[in-house]
Symmetry: C2
């Protein structure tokens, strides 16, 4: 098989590809709102039909939530599982859209042409980059160079309640050598990116119990223990003056990032200043001595996400409240163990309680460790080379500050590594009004996947 | 005039006095709820009629809120102004009352007989101690030994919106040498108390503004500045390890309490341990080196009354919020100036802001200084002696942790000192279900006022 003919075919049918994506986008497949249930089914049906029209046998599977779509085609190369989601975010606030969210259109912008509309980037546009690459290849060669399974869900924006049961039930149909996911961004415009580190998470919360009832600050102010003062002291003690976490044992398993990866990060064209500025900051406020990207991708955090107690209404209330509350999450890296981290933090807090203060902890804390992909696997090097060729710029192994749950399910249930390659940009406004996807990213995204699939096929 | 005959008269008509108080209590004069407006008017009318039936000319004055009642009787001694309020607190939660709140009854308890019902203590029972003393005296002697003005309002539980305008308009009718108020508690059962120090107050609040929008702790956690961490550091810095306020300049004007007063406090029978225990504490948590009473009456405080930011719902939300909020009040003593205190605290906080943090302060802060009565005035010594005789125990010049606004209005508008003598107990459950007033306190309260009025009359 010849990749060049496939790339020519892709280029020649770009208008058709855009038209097909826009047909897909016209289906308002909002997964969180039950009134769009029929539309989610419609989007699943559309996808299955579209795969079949590209000579990829496909089927829609009913679940207790929105349907799954599975397609499959044989090929000589390694077995790939491509994952994407056909559901989209709600569109409110609707009045902030400049064009109707489900009437996609092409617009000229300072960045070139963009496809505007809900799902253009997340994830209809991104998943179609892979589908269109495969369609072109089958048009030219009659088949794909790799055995390929297509797996699309319709609940990603709704917490994927059916995903784990479906994976467990259909392990055999989903088995493959590696999962490919197209739901991530490029680190900066024009810089191809493979997200190879996702941070883990640990969630917990506590309540400090001070006086037996809310007290009046007139009569009791002075001798009364104020839980708001206590919780402030405790929260203040969680970090040191260098912005690092001050909890003993917290950093166990953090590990270091290879010099070669660090050098990719510092040369990836990431505009740190603009990035921070867009969030109202002039400098990174995390651990001193680490860059913004290192703080986001390779360093752990302990963030208080909610802190409250006492009176929050208009005016003043002279209350010394009986309780104070704190919710927090940690982002984990390397081999950090969520349970160990939780234990260290609980000890740190419990050790700092004043007498007369009681504490209760959340009964259902959650956690999952970080995912660090094995970038020494041949598929990563091949994909990196393929991306670099397409974009004329060395591809970067980036990190992600958050987690993508599906990659953990692939690892835990299907024992499969994931490779995350996406062509979105940070300014795509996914989850916001006026979502867009750059036409050039869509086009080069399709070409990138053709190159990657051919490159991986060549390894066998 | 002879006090002994008056005391005999008081004793002989105790059943009648209790019956009259209960008639008064049957009127549900809840001032905060507009649906009881008619009942407030009814209570004012009842009071005026009752004064007149005791040969005290009285009149009801309409205001834009609930009416005022003014009575007046001449006498040879110094001119007294007695203040009380006929309105009562709402009764919810109604299901926690063991008897209907407006159907007063006498009950036997381990403390002896009590009058149960809303207003029994606050303030219908207390104000009737003075009225009944005067009624008995007029019955025996035809007049009072002091010129006396009676002043009752019906909005004390509703913030007294009509009080200041009424005082301004009727300065001449309210002019007197000293104001007597019966709306306070005894420091411990059987220990007569004159509240002679009320703390002042200063209210303020601020908001810290960090990131320009709420951020996701996955993508931004690390470099993002977290306003909840910042506000915790600031609140934690407000107090030192000894429980004192750590703000520079804050203590200016605090002053000391006379040794003689301190010795009254340490010998007043106040059960510190039981008091703290009732609020869930085993020790006073204020400034080291001061007793519970000193911390409440003679030391300033800085209490955070509300602290909040981020997510407060069920479960977890991985947010780094854009804002964090803090409401606080200070209790002031001695000559502390509310404006100076506010300036010192604002400077302390502003000096501790990280770069990239902005702050906004409340536009309508409030404050009023402490009131320290001039206990060297002869009325105070005379009242103390009278109370000591009645109760067989040295009366105590106590303090109060909070403020009683009417005393400031008497001082500011009428240029009049107040003397606060009350016979309530901390367990009277004022503002709560099952309010009560000890019959013995009511009885000895009436006798106490007779003695006080005669003692002050003798000074002229």
């Amino acid at each position: 098989m010849n990749i060049d003919d496939v790339l020519v075919q892709i280029d020649s049918q770009m208008q058709e590809s855009l038209g097909n994506l826009m047909s897909f986008m016209r289906i308002p497949s909002i997964s969180t709102d039950p009134s769009y249930r029929k539309n989610c089914r419609e989007a699943a049906d559309w996808l299955a039909s579209y795969l079949k029209s590209a000579n990829i046998p496909a089927e829609v599977y009913t679940t207790s939530g929105h349907p799954m779509v599975l397609g499959h085609t044989d090929g000589p190369g390694p077995h790939l599982l491509f994952y994407g989601h056909y559901d989209v975010q709600p569109v409110d606030p609707l009045e902030q859209w400049h064009t109707p969210p489900f009437e996609p259109c092409l617009q000229e912008t300072s960045q070139g042409q963009v496809i505007r509309g809900r799902g253009s980037s997340d994830d209809k546009g991104q998943l179609m980059t892979f589908v269109e690459a495969c369609r072109a290849c089958i048009q030219v060669h009659g088949s794909l160079p790799c055995k390929t399974t297509f797996f699309f869900e319709g609940e990603e924006e709704a917490g994927s309640p059916s995903l784990v049961p479906f994976m467990r039930e259909h392990k055999d149909k989903l088995a493959a050598e590696i999962a490919l996911v197209c739901d991530t961004s490029m680190i900066s415009p024009g810089v191809p990116s493979i997200a190879s580190r996702l941070r883990g998470i640990m969630k917990d919360e506590f309540t400090l119990l001070g006086p037996s009832v809310d007290l009046h600050s007139g009569s009791y102010g002075g001798p009364a223990l104020n839980p708001l003062h206590e919780i402030s002291k405790i929260v203040a003690s969680l970090h040191n003056d260098n912005g690092g976490v001050a909890v003993e044992g917290f950093h166990e398993g953090v590990g270091n990032v290879d010099e070669s990866i660090l050098s990719q990060w510092s040369n990836c064209g990431f505009d740190e200043k603009a990035y921070l500025h867009s969030a109202g900051m002039t400098r990174p406020h995390g651990e001193a001595g680490y860059t913004t990207l290192e703080q986001q991708w390779a360093r752990p955090t302990l963030e208080v996400n909610g802190l409250w107690g006492g009176y929050q209404g208009v005016g003043s209330k002279t209350v010394i409240p009986a309780e104070a509350h704190c919710k927090f999450t940690c982002r984990l890296v390397g081999d950090m163990d969520p349970d160990h981290v939780r234990k260290c933090i609980r000890k740190h807090v419990n050790d700092r309680l004043s007498d007369d203060v009681k504490i209760t902890w959340d009964n259902e804390p959650e956690g999952s460790p970080a995912s660090v992909m094995d970038v020494n696997r041949p598929e990563f090097a091949l994909a990196r080379k393929a991306l670099s060729e397409e974009w004329g710029r060395e591809a970067v192994f980036t990190g992600m500050g958050g987690s993508i749950p599906v990659t953990r399910f692939f690892a835990d249930i299907l024992n499969m590594e994931s490779m995350l390659v996406g062509f979105a940009q940070d300014d795509d406004a996914i989850h916001s009004p006026n979502e867009k996807y750059n036409v050039n990213n869509f086009h080069k995204g399709i070409r990138s996947w053709a190159r990657i699939v051919f490159a991986i096929a060549g390894s066998k």
